[in-house]
Symmetry: C2
Subunit: 350 residues, 2 copies
């Protein structure tokens, strides 16, 4: 599990709570002028510089959101930050600070925490955010990470979930279903390993989908791209629980319906071939798989020309009046299939 196979592991108790936080965070530097006071006081202080404060929190629990049998701790730290940053990207806000809370069993050595914080540091660098606080405590079992991410943004740039209007176009970034497919490969190889620890895992050729699962990226780039194109979404959400579930959220909060075209859903060729190999329907994986962390948004139809040929975007449907409901238009037959929220749910998928 640890990349450095150093047998001299350090028990967490050697540091104590304050020493541990100091040790784990002493190499973090600051990038944002808005960070005034960070770790080391009762609370952090942020100067919003005339902007609104956007704030979100997400929990990742061992055995529910990740399996340490195949998720490296450094990736876990990175991903925990990225999924929160993704929520800020979905508001069209600029990420600025994070707070990290960890409940961790004493079975983990200090070196394990160091790896998690290495991943957190990488994500802080990648997304230009400052680690300004947190709490580290023991738990009676397992590892639970809770991250709070803060962004600052001028009011007029923020995008909620309530502004979609009938006639708007439905647009998604990147491609879908890959993260779920990567998870299937990781679980398959982990089962093989558990059955026979001498078997080498067969991960070759699956790089893209494994990366989608283990090291997802938040689409913080989209904010600038849309600005350059002169497009302001009318509503936006990130695809964390599957396309179907996210469309239903926008439907619910904007009081509109959606038509989603099966033939338009963007998928990577590796997602398609792996689905084929595993006897899965790739469209179902995109609809219900989740964890792709792409952005799903609506734009006025008048903006069609601005984005139609852009490599980051795919137009996958349109908005209808609410009474027309939410449907997938099947490829070929044009049959209407009701969308339902079978998205990933931490309480059901166990």
């Amino acid at each position: 599990m640890l990349e450095d196979k150093n047998p001299q592991l350090t028990p967490i108790s050697q540091y104590g709570e304050f020493g541990l936080i100091k040790h784990l965070t002493e190499n973090f530097s600051f990038r944002n002028e808005s960070t005034e006071i960070s770790i080391g006081d009762d609370a952090a202080v942020i100067d919003p510089q005339g902007q609104k404060v956007v704030i979100t929190t997400d929990v990742l629990a061992e055995g529910v959101h990740f399996n340490l049998g195949y998720v490296p701790l450094k990736h876990l730290g990175y991903k925990a930050v990225a999924v929160n940053i993704s929520d800020l990207a979905a508001m069209n806000a600029t990420p600025t600070q994070i707070l990290v809370s960890l409940a961790i069993s004493n079975r983990f050595p200090v070196e394990a925490l160091e790896e998690i914080y290495e991943g957190i540091a990488l994500a802080c660098e990648r997304y230009k955010v400052d680690l300004v606080g947190g709490d580290t405590t023991s738990s009676t079992s397992g590892l639970v990470m809770s991250i709070t991410a803060i962004g600052l943004e001028h009011s007029e740039n923020l995008v909620g979930r309530t502004g979609a209007k009938a006639g708007d176009l439905l647009v998604v970034t990147g491609d879908l279903g890959g993260a779920y497919m990567g998870l299937q490969i990781l679980e398959r190889e982990h089962s093989v390993y558990l059955a026979n620890p001498n078997m080498q895992p067969e991960m070759e050729g699956y790089d893209y989908i494994l990366q989608r699962q283990l090291k997802p990226e938040a689409r913080t780039d989209i904010k600038n791209t849309l600005k350059e194109l002169g497009v302001q979404p009318t509503s936006m959400i990130d695809v964390s629980d599957g396309l179907s579930s996210e469309i239903l959220h926008l439907s619910d909060q904007s009081k509109v319906g959606f038509r989603l075209y099966e033939s338009k859903i963007p998928m990577d060729p590796l997602t398609m071939t792996t689905a084929d190999e595993l006897n899965l329907n790739p469209v179902m994986c995109a609809l219900n798989g989740g964890e792709d962390f792409e952005l799903l948004f609506t734009i006025p139809a008048a903006d069609y020309d601005k984005i139609k040929n852009h490599p980051d975007f795919t137009i996958i449907g349109h908005v209808t009046p609410v009474e027309e409901g939410n449907y997938l238009v099947a490829a070929g037959s044009n049959e209407l299939i009701a969308l339902n929220a079978q998205g990933w749910d931490a309480f059901l998928n166990r």
Copy 2:
């Protein structure tokens, strides 16, 4: 454990993740103009209205910070909020919003979550804060709560930990050691109960210290009191880990020493008599017990007259140059005893 012994308990899976959050939070109302967008979008949006944003987070883990054998869930919800609000009070900031993250095992029914949220709602009312976000997920075992609290404040009112100067007075609010003593009683009676479930717990007469442990209050009142008295602390911290540990934090961050007078440490008579009953040294309980959530601060000596007879405050020592170290001046003998950080540490006290 549940106050309402209704045998018709609801499994969490009946709601699913989104339904559950909606169900638990639908009765929360909003008190603060600064709350613009709350639960139901990718992130909450706060309008700081020209103020600085103060933010803190704390984790409470089952079996480490609380034992559900004797901590009612409603109290747990209340306390989890109060301890975070206390960190904001220690910055002299005005609390405005909270985010609540819960990782909870499927062994808990929905009714258990409802009780936790009832306690959270009570705390929101008491401290005039809005619940603006969070995440609820399952865990493979136990209950972990992570709360993030946000406050807004004008720069000039904020008090950090770095401003104490030699000659300043050391002041504490309320009384100390009670929360620790309450915990001793709870643990004693819980042991008796485990040995013989037919025994009635003997809790009578211990009300004050039990309340200090089970339903601590953040001293958000002190901000106004100090303002009315015209006193601005030079440094401040809340007493969450014990007086000794907090003094050492102020010492470390203000680069000063402290003299603490044993005879001045404020303690409730019930704390003293219970300590006597349990054969504990009450001063040690105040120094190392923690969880009193009183405020500890330094003020210029010139402000002595402003607070000397105020019922909320006790002057317990003074600030020295850093090279004079941190010492307890023993009652009677005036012997100097070095202060050390034996405060409550989640990684050691298990």
